[in-house]
């Protein structure tokens, strides 16, 4: 904190308003006002397409329908949960393995890292289009080669409900493994060399070193990486929107695509607003958890 003489003066208060005024105004315009409007709408029977719904006040009916009887919502939640449960552990193991592999210095490392980060950094829309092209029936290169070696005989991966979800998971692993790798790499590079060297001299195997030295030292970073990844996976939208749109049927419908469909394809705004509020409330809990773990201060890579 600055000098105590200055801390309470009028000029400090003025300057504090200069600092915090814009962000407060901004948050009121883009978060508080919209959420207030959404709360009002969530209590109404409002739709832009259904003539019977004219915006009457219906109390908490939207929420009761959503929480109580909406099978499609629960299906979307289940798909999202399955998706997260599969992709996050796979991405973690692969990301850690690659990070362990390339942690040492070598010529061209910077270029290698840039290339490895391509899947994470390019637009998710582009990721979706690349894989859509890869997996097109009859001329998509992956479909063709898989057919040729006899691994996959269907015409399109996106026509079967299991194979469509599996393909989306594989694409997510391709897209996000480098993200975990990068965080693990930051931790491994900053890790003190002494414990690993000492263990090597004592004859510990590489597996023992990983399990008893490196993983415990990486723990804070692993928690952050897994949390961020899980949070992001729960929000997946872009690739699914581009690749399956939630289909076939609703086999790959996740929370985000379901909310999008309800609001912007069916224009069922009152009901959609209630979905948004439930999600926003859920994210508050997640954010609280994340904030508690990170507690506002950056985890120094490799800190214990």
């Amino acid at each position: 904190m600055i000098d105590s003489k200055l801390a309470d003066s009028a000029s400090t208060r003025t300057f504090l308003w200069v600092c915090m005024g814009p962000v407060l105004l901004f948050l009121i315009i883009v978060v508080v006002a919209p959420l207030t409007l959404a709360i009002v709408d969530s209590l109404r029977d409002l739709s832009l397409t259904m003539l019977t719904k004219r915006g009457q006040f219906i109390g908490l009916d939207n929420f009761r329908d959503l929480i109580g009887t909406d099978d499609k919502f629960y299906a979307a939640v289940a798909h999202t949960a399955i998706f997260m449960a599969v992709v996050v552990p796979i991405e973690f193991v692969l990301g850690l393995a690659i990070a362990l592999w390339i942690k040492r210095e070598f010529a061209g490392r910077r270029l290698v890292l840039t290339i490895l980060m391509i899947p994470t950094m390019i637009a998710p829309v582009v990721v979706g289009m690349i894989w859509r092209f890869f997996l097109m029936p009859s001329f998509g290169i992956l479909t063709v080669y898989l057919n040729r070696i006899g691994l996959f005989q269907e015409t399109s991966v996106f026509s079967g409900s299991v194979s469509a979800l599996a393909a989306l998971m594989m694409i997510d692993v391709w897209e996000w493994t480098p993200f975990i790798m990068l965080i693990m790499l930051a931790g491994l590079s900053a890790m003190p060399a002494a414990p690993v060297e000492a263990a090597t001299i004592d004859g510990a195997s590489r597996w023992q070193i990983l399990r008893h030295i490196q993983l415990p030292l990486l723990r804070p970073l692993i928690v952050i990486a897994l949390m961020l990844r899980a949070i992001d996976a729960s929000k997946i939208f872009d690739t699914i929107h581009v690749l399956t749109g939630g289909g076939p049927g609703n086999a790959t419908e996740v929370i985000a695509t379901y909310a999008y469909r309800t609001n912007f394809l069916k224009w069922d705004l009152g009901y959609g607003a209630s979905i948004c509020l439930v999600l926003a409330f859920g994210s508050l809990i997640v954010a609280a958890l994340f904030y508690k773990i990170v507690s506002g201060k950056p985890a120094e890579a490799g800190a214990q």
Binding site: W101, I118, F139, V144, A301
Partner: protein, 271 residues
Amino acid sequence: MQRRNPLLFAIPLIVFLAIALVPYIWIVLASFKKRIDLITPYPKWIFDPTVVNYVDIFDKGFDTYLLNSIIIGFSSTALTVVVGTLAAYGFSRFKVPAGNHLFFFILATRLGPPVAYALPMYLIFKAFGLVNTHVAVILAHATFNLVLVVWMMRSFFNDVPREVEEAAYLDGCGHFRVFWGIALPMTYPGLVAVSIFVLIFSWNELLFSLILTGGETRTLPVMIPSLVLHTGTLWGQVAAASIIQSIPVLVFIFFIQKNLVQGLTFGAVKG
């Protein structure tokens, strides 16, 4: 650790690189292919290249969408960086009343699913007649990037040695002079990295752009999937548009590699 055989080290490395790169290379090649070379059951690695796809998308008004993405990207970046940096300095140097709550609130806006904020934002922008304008998307992108600027800039300001600022105060400088003349310049490298991140996230963003733009105000991520038509996808054009959209991103990752991990974790991890 014992030295490994260089070949044993290199082979898995090449496999990693190939997995990351080949899908991208394949779309680069596709962007230079004629339709006959694209839609073929025998994937062609060697073909007679053409730039017709690039010419076609520009004939279709690709420059409009490119310009939209540029305008929206730079405006929202400027807005986020100004608002976020001021707030970050406030959080870093002063006891902000209810600061922890505000800080948490800013985080919550970003960790929540964007789709939860999409409808509320759509409603408010519609009420003000801003749907299908640049302003709506600029504000939306600024919202979800704000936390990145606040968190990262706060940590950069925390790293600035306090003594320099105190000396300036003793010389009679006011708060703003100290902020503008001393603290801010010392964070310039960080500020540049943060700005690039915000720009990339805005450049790549789909959901808000999809909802808040239309027709002439569409951005590249909205325009690219629109080339998937009921009558068949114009793959050459999809590829060309994707390449143009992603090249600036690739250039940037090479240059901000040092800050990559920090930017991707909202500053929760320092590289």
